[in-house]
Symmetry: C2
Subunit: 480 residues, 2 copies
């Protein structure tokens, strides 16, 4: 892939002239590698400049970067270097950089920035992004920062924080472009030009509201631009998808994806327009939710790129300890049959294969089910059909793999009874794996729990347990 | 969550009046459950109507749904019902429904729609969506459909298909709003109003181009609306992030997420503007890529909600068969030590715990690494640091879990040497798991391969193998 991008600082301070000087241009070209990630050599340049305490150079290196790339750079540095960079970041960029940072880095940096600078930086942001930052402050600093802000901005942040985390209320910005239905296109255009400061920085749709400020329709800005001035909004508008202010962010992301929305009006329980959510906030939510599923299926929570060893251990050890318990329970089935094993040691060789293949088959079904549940492709409408289908898949896989493993067992141990034991046990275990892989996430979803969390450890436990037990019970029946 | 949404048909045919009659309104209210997924009862109503061959009712039920919801409904029906629905779908909605369908359903339905209707439907779509549909047609039908289309639309589709699948060229639409830099805001607004048909249906940014049609900047439409008419575009525009036409869709999604883009200009290798990508297409790509990672980590490809049993078996059996081979190789280590096991049968009980915990620890590290690589948070800049950190995490986990398992072993078997064997083996295996969990995906990424694919099976194999071997070698050294 060749990168044609001359300049990646779109969205940076609009005060800048587009005619950047050549020196800065060169740094910008060096900042990103071919895959748009920050170039390791650029990171080294920053570290060099910091080692030399070269303030002007650091400032220059930071200014050549888009705020999102500065945030990215921070993640590749150690805490000492980050602290050294802070004073060289322009106050205009600080807010945007902060809102791009990973949570743990953000908390670290928020601590190091004085309350007054923070208050100024927050006033630059949309209310949703500002509220997110304030939410990360400890109580004392939060009061200090809010006190230093102007009244309007503080009120906006406080009302945003009144909504629960991960709901539409927290994602939305309160600034919207709304107009009564009797207005004409010309009225709307004049209104926009007359008072641009009351509007959100970017907007994509105009919402048409009734006298009670309830949305009755909407209109893309591009449609507004195309229409003759004298046409009424009423005749142009189309139905809009409203979002309840208490809707979970996962639902909001689902709606944006399903209906290809660019922005959507948010309404309070009375149906009145209270804000808007734009798709750029949703892209982050979708990434987040998908990553949560990936990590939950592996039984791990992400401590972040900059986490310390104790932080990572805290995030992972509980699951491993739980797995130690379940694995110990699973092997009690083996302990009960030690006599069987001492007679036929080959069982000790073959049992783990049966258990492992069951675990794999179960986790395949589980991953597909978790994905289908997240996309609402698996509901009551097709649950029974899907379960039955997984059973047939389990039977098919079981038969094929049983023939393979049974054949291999016979070839190695020349014992047809042992081959039968292993083949049958594998068939049983693969079937159980498929059923557990679909039922566990469905049951968790039905209980209102996250189907990705803890179903993997349950399926692995069950397939271990039933794998060992199937081999040993069949062995005690057939091999005597 | 309460749903306040009165009407979810935003984006449907713009010819509709916003005053929908009450009957249709009622159906719309029934169509979706609280979580915005299609209501199982609504699916039953459709099945009932189809069973009664009630054409008018089917038509009514379809018309109350947004095309995206019709596509969703299709996924919950069997092939026979889908075929029965087809004639009752309005030709206007058909194209949009088709572009919302899962690939395998889409292929099925494309086969059942006559070429002439298809050609008409395709003319309603943006060139990127139309090209996607045409790409799914078999060769004969493709020629037929293209021949039935008008020349301009056919040319647009053919040039879109000339780009490789999953590249920016395929995602982009060729229609863009571009203007020379010497134009004023007024010129741009007049241009939009003068020839609205030459423009994309929706647009969010105006791209400023030089005489060679190379982008030199951009401007959000909302900024254009706010600015005085006499201001030149040159003085208003900001730098834009250009996307190379051959860029991989994963890179494109990364850029949109990182810089919070709503749309971006696509340029050919000569730097000339050839189209634009809008964020609504990217939301789908992000979902797709994240799901691919979830499934790849579980060693499964998704056959789709409507897949048949043979289709699912084809998607999953190869990985299970591969796992059968790797598991068999792993247990050869046990086979070499059968003498050891027949002396101490407890080893057969304890080995699987060591192997299983190693597998879990390895897959935790793997999931975090795959996620970090996808987000470009793990690069050359911090690879060494991350590997070292995983080693420390492995040592910490190993020590804690070894003490727990060793203690439990001593409590049950009253054999300090056996406890030492199992504890040490677990420590070694957890360490190996952590190192493999970070090195395997890094190595695959370095080789230009997808780090999610096949690293999971490798890590599981390695931890099984080293788990068994560690227990047995230590046993043969310590237990004599």
């Amino acid at each position: 892939m060749t990168r044609q991008t001359a300049d990646l600082t779109a969205g940076a301070s609009s005060a800048e002239s587009p005619k950047a000087d050549t020196e800065v241009e060169d740094l910008e070209d060096m900042a990103l590698s071919d895959d748009y990630a920050i170039d390791p050599e650029y990171v080294d340049m920053v570290i060099d400049a910091a080692d030399r305490n070269d303030g002007p150079r650091l400032k220059e290196l930071m200014e050549a970067l888009h705020p999102a790339d500065v945030a990215d750079l921070m993640g590749f540095l150690t805490a000492e270097y980050r602290e050294e960079l802070l004073p060289h970041i322009s106050p205009d960029d600080l807010a945007e950089i902060l809102s791009e940072l990973d949570t743990n880095l953000r908390e670290e940096i928020l601590e190091n920035v004085p309350a007054a600078s923070l208050a100024k930086a927050l006033e630059e942001l949309d209310s949703d992004d500002a509220a997110d930052l304030v939410d990360d402050l400890d109580k004392g600093k939060r009061a200090e920062v809010l006190a230093a802000m102007d009244d309007v901005d503080r009120a906006a942040i406080e009302s945003s924080l009144a909504y629960e985390d991960e709901t539409a209320g927290r994602l939305m910005q309160r600034e919207v472009l709304a107009a009564p239905q009797f207005w004409t296109v010309g009225d709307a255009l004049d209104h926009i030009r007359a008072d641009p400061d009351a509007l959100p920085e970017l907007f994509f749709d105009l919402y048409v509201v009734d006298p009670a400020y309830k949305p009755v329709g909407g209109l893309a800005i591009s449609q507004l631009l195309r229409a003759p001035r004298e046409v009424t909004l009423w005749s142009l508008m189309e139905p809009v998808t409203e979002i309840a202010v208490d809707a979970d962010q996962e639902e909001v992301a689902y709606i944006f994806d399903k209906y290809h929305l660019i922005s959507a009006p948010v309404v309070d329980p009375g149906g009145r327009l209270v804000g808007q959510i734009t798709v750029d906030d949703i892209v982050g939510v979708i990434q987040e939710e998908a990553q949560e599923d990936i990590l939950a299926l592996a039984g791990v929570s992400d401590a972040g790129r900059d986490a310390t060893v104790p932080g990572i251990v805290r995030a992972r050890l509980p699951w491993l300890a739980l797995n130690l318990v379940t694995a110990t329970i699973a092997v009690t089935s083996i302990a009960m049959f030690q006599g069987e094993i001492s007679k036929v040691v080959a069982l000790a060789v073959l049992m783990p294969i049966v258990a492992s293949l069951g675990g794999n088959a179960g986790n395949q079904t589980l991953a597909v089910a978790v994905r289908a549940l997240a996309g609402k492709e698996l509901t009551e409408s097709n649950a029974v059909r899907t379960i039955l289908r997984e059973m047939w898949v389990g039977i098919t896989h079981g038969v094929v793999l049983a023939v393979l493993l049974g054949g291999a067992t016979f070839a190695v141990f020349h014992n047809p009874k042992l081959a039968a034991v292993v083949g049958l046990a594998l068939m049983v275990n693969i079937f159980i794996a498929g059923v557990a892989g679909i039922l566990a996430p469905l049951a968790l979803e039905k209980m209102g729990r996250d189907p990705a969390v803890s179903s993997s450890i349950f399926v692995t436990f069950l397939t271990d347990f039933s794998g060992f037990l199937a081999v040993l019970i069949l062995a005690s029946l057939i091999l005597r």
